[in-house]
Amino acid sequence: MDTSSDINRLMKQTQRYWYEDGLADMAMGGFMLLLGLLFAGESLTPPGSPLWAFWGMGLPAFLIGGGLVAGWTIKRLKSRVTYPRTGYVEYERRGPARLAWLIGIGLAAALLAAIFVVVIRWSVSPILFFGLVFLGAFSYVAFRVRLWRYLLFGLWSLVLSLVIAPLSLSLEQSSALYYPGLGLGLIALGWVAWRRYDTGAPPQEASDDANA
């Protein structure tokens, strides 16, 4: 423990801990599967159907509500399964750092929305755009925490978009194929990560710190 590389390794290992058990991947994969079902329902709805009003409100509600439910589920699962075995780590920063993070996310979302409008005007497939966005986002996570399965997932999202884009489907139909594909990919990666974690830290390893 005398070089900066050791310090960096420990810091990365701690940042990576959230993803180590694969539970977050599987929960997000489930969320994307449901998102795909929502798009499938939308694409099967005939024009003029009163169901369109439901889809119109359903998507934003699902994105917000589903995100909250997925977040809650991940925390609950981790508190039951992961933390008793290998310990608890809290990442949420409070104060100015959190505010700066939220502003950054907001600016990134606004930039992506602006690019999306340009993409639509150029008649480029939106799915291709999403494929590139996911590739960029997951590559960033992969390099940030040195977790290469996310690079693989980013490439998977790009491959999926390259396969779906030339099919000349509507946005709803493309999304009905694309998001379940992403979801299955995440669930598979999460399952592999979970198996590795479960083998490395079996339940009997659970311990408390009564003598701390």
Binding site: D6, M11, G87, D209, A212
Partner: protein, 108 residues
């Protein structure tokens, strides 16, 4: 016969060496500071796993860091089990940052 210092070796300023924070410089405590700097807080179980220290050793080093004002320790119960949560204080974060800068200067 006297030895002359090699020209290839970097010249280390003795004053810089003396100014290195001894509390943090100890390898076990440096490991703990590095782990805690990467998150908001971590519990005893995680710290023990991340640093591969024994329970007694870890307790002693955490106490030393707490005495220096670099970390705060919160004892609580989670599901009726005792849980010790550690976090870097603001002076602790600043000291760790300064330590890394000092080491980087020394390595140049």
């Amino acid at each position: 016969m006297t030895r002359t210092p090699s020209r290839d070796k970097p010249s280390v300023n003795a004053q810089d060496l003396l100014e290195v924070d001894r509390v943090i410089h100890e390898p076990a405590r440096l490991a703990l500071m590095a782990v805690l700097a990467a998150c908001e807080s971590a519990d005893f179980v995680y710290l023990r796993r991340a640093t591969s220290m024994t329970q007694g050793n870890l307790s002693a080093h955490l106490r030393r860091l707490e005495e220096a004002g670099y970390i705060s320790i919160e004892k609580r119960f989670v599901d009726d089990k005792p849980n010790t949560l550690c976090r870097l204080t603001q002076p602790g974060r600043a000291a760790f940052k300064e330590y890394r800068a000092q080491v980087a200067r020394l390595m140049k």
